[in-house]
Amino acid sequence: MDDISNIVTFLLNWLEQFSPKALILAATALSAGFAMIAGIGPGIGQGYAAGKGAEAVGDNEQNSNNITLVMLLGAAVAETSGIFSLVVALILLYANPLINLEGIGIVIAASALGAGLAMIAGIGPGIGQGYAAGKGAERVGQRPKYQGLIVRTMLLGQAVGQTTGIYALVVALILLFANPLLRLM
């Protein structure tokens, strides 16, 4: 335990030498990077949808238009988590709300870091919604007559899957734009 607390103490003392602004900007840079890790999700999910779409078109060439439509629709939903993360990262880089905040540098810096870490949650909806898109495309290929029902079910399920991504976005935005911790100081 002694070693760990020594390292932490050393790290905190090392951080003391930098101005608060530098700490905040450094944390912002890291945070923007962390947020983009969420891109893993849509990548996997949309890839699965693409594979399923290709498979479905191979099996049911005459329905290829329906299949493609459902695949792209579902993939667009899966994309949203990636877009949220991109927006948070761009806000951090180009419209940083934390730079001019009154308060303790390290708390603001940690808030920036927390916001980026929260956005990593976007991996989940990305994968899940992509899976739903693939399954929807597959089914529409087999039963194009029921496209309406299939798409409705797919979208309903995808909307539910989006919720934790929204929670993470809300927490990130709270940390950035309505930081409650600074008042506690």
Binding site: I123, G124, A133, R143, L149, I150, G157, V171, L181
Partner: protein
């Protein structure tokens, strides 16, 4: 840097880390959505029952995501650790 600042800084990072739990619900509910769409495609006349089951299961999957959100909100808005600092 004061002790209070350190605890608050760690609270901010902790709130962010807690939200990563949302990955699970996202993947799981998406899987349920896909399976639901598949089942409806096979048996469209059973759509009501299928959707109900899907939503019930998705609600259960949501729980750990809610737990993560609750912890994050506690850390941000009702931080119990600051009082422990004394």
């Amino acid at each position: 840097m004061t002790d209070k600042a350190l605890v608050l800084a760690a609270s901010a990072i902790g709130a962010g880390l807690a939200m990563i739990a949302g990955i699970g619900a996202g993947i799981g509910q998406g899987f349920a959505a896909g399976k639901g769409a598949e089942a409806v495609g096979k048996q469209p006349e059973a759509q009501g029952v299928i959707v109900r089951t899907m939503l019930l299961g998705a609600a259960v999957a949501e729980t750990t995501g809610i737990y993560g959100l609750v912890i994050a909100l506690i850390l941000l808005f009702a931080n119990p650790l600051i009082k422990l600092l004394g």
